[in-house]
Symmetry: C2
Subunit: 284 residues, 2 copies
Amino acid sequence: MAKEKKSPGLLEQLRVPSGPVDLSKYDTRATPGFTGTKDEGKVALESLGAEVSDWQERLYAEGLKDGHRSVLLVLQGMDTSGKGGVIRHGAGLMDPQGLKITSFKAPTPAEKRRGFLWRIRQALPGPGMIGIFDRSHYEDVLIARVRDLVAPPVWNRRYGQINDFESELAANGVMLLKCFLHISPEEQKLRLQARLDDSTKHWKYNPGDVDERKLWPAYTEAYEAALERCNSPEAPWLVIPSDRKWYRNWAVTTILLETLKTLDPQWPTADFDVATEKGRLAAT
Amino acid sequence: MAKEKKSPGLLEQLRVPSGPVDLSKYDTRATPGFTGTKDEGKVALESLGAEVSDWQERLYAEGLKDGHRSVLLVLQGMDTSGKGGVIRHGAGLMDPQGLKITSFKAPTPAEKRRGFLWRIRQALPGPGMIGIFDRSHYEDVLIARVRDLVAPPVWNRRYGQINDFESELAANGVMLLKCFLHISPEEQKLRLQARLDDSTKHWKYNPGDVDERKLWPAYTEAYEAALERCNSPEAPWLVIPSDRKWYRNWAVTTILLETLKTLDPQWPTADFDVATEKGRLAAT
């Protein structure tokens, strides 16, 4: 049933073409690859669960034996764009044993001393694992650039460093998927209001969110630069229209599923003699 | 609906009383606290999802603010007893962002040099998190004892060291739950046979499993010693009858839910002035 709902080429549809990026050209309420209602979208997401879990287990099994491949899903987006929601509702469909989730906050002094990629390397998924980054090394060319946390030559050099790093990952068997969860400023306002209106959501609100919001144009420019300068075939950027939460969750999960199918991990063959083992077991 | 199915005092029912432990007295096919069929058990498990996720989010929110509490679920049991299955089907109902899962294999030389509790400390859940150990420091009084990996005075001393360690954890806000997934040797044989009969399950089979199986009585004795000597009110052992997979998954998840409710984490109150923030947001 998952097959009916999922669009086979969603990754290709949402991939950012090479060249300059103008985010105003991307509709944040669009639902490319999906025709249906919100309720149908939620059902479609649930229906991916069995299939995506099956492929995840194949990748995991491959990794336990002689495999070296892994998947790394990088989630970026403005506050409230739904990075946590994608993990909860999309990644939550899979076996948590095969997930390695890292949420990157502001770097500590010790992390800063080691260079911006050090803590990223620490968090990479091992063979067979699906790594998920809630924010990532891209913050070092986003908030670091917008907030002048480092001098322009420093952040400017980082785009090349990121490209080198991501090439190295790809060469080491890490299948990278970078998703920009794209919301409109109007949608963000509604979501922040909702957090303020509901006392059980106050813990999700930070007064700094409004300060960041005021810098929306500068962040948009920084995202456009990152999406243009760090967009290689081996580490592509995708823009996920994210004003509709159900579409966002479905789309990222569908892309993950497509990626797993492309990797096509196989069940490892036995490294023991099956008949011998059956005999040994029977004798116990 | 979860409320109808769950037994409020399951933790108390499955808790090992203090004193000598005789595992032969525990029926591995029993379903204490649940009357119903296998299919009803699966439905009951699914119906716990919303409630357990809600409580998990409260604990997580508390931990993000000034909370220091966490939960640590230790899973032990013979091969095929279903440690991974509990994580997949039970923990899989929760938000993976709030889980910290660690699977302990044979310690590396570097780990051994640091003492058997070092790697365990590295893997402890942070505030607000639910840690899950697939095997644990108990292996150091199980396989280490049965296989003579260390001299008797060394493993013998470890029971006290474990008790001290677990007391320290409890004092630091870690709510410990230690579950022994109890299967019969006949059930293990069936499960190992099933792995040998299905080529997509060969990766789960290890010829060493049969060697371990031959030591069943010695392992039973070692488990009985651990359950007797390291069973404190602050770090209790529970025996989970595990010949029925659906019961095992339901029981561990129910116990986790009961524990979260006992902790009763509250949504953090705002550390900002809500009216002021509404005004600031409206002005953007």
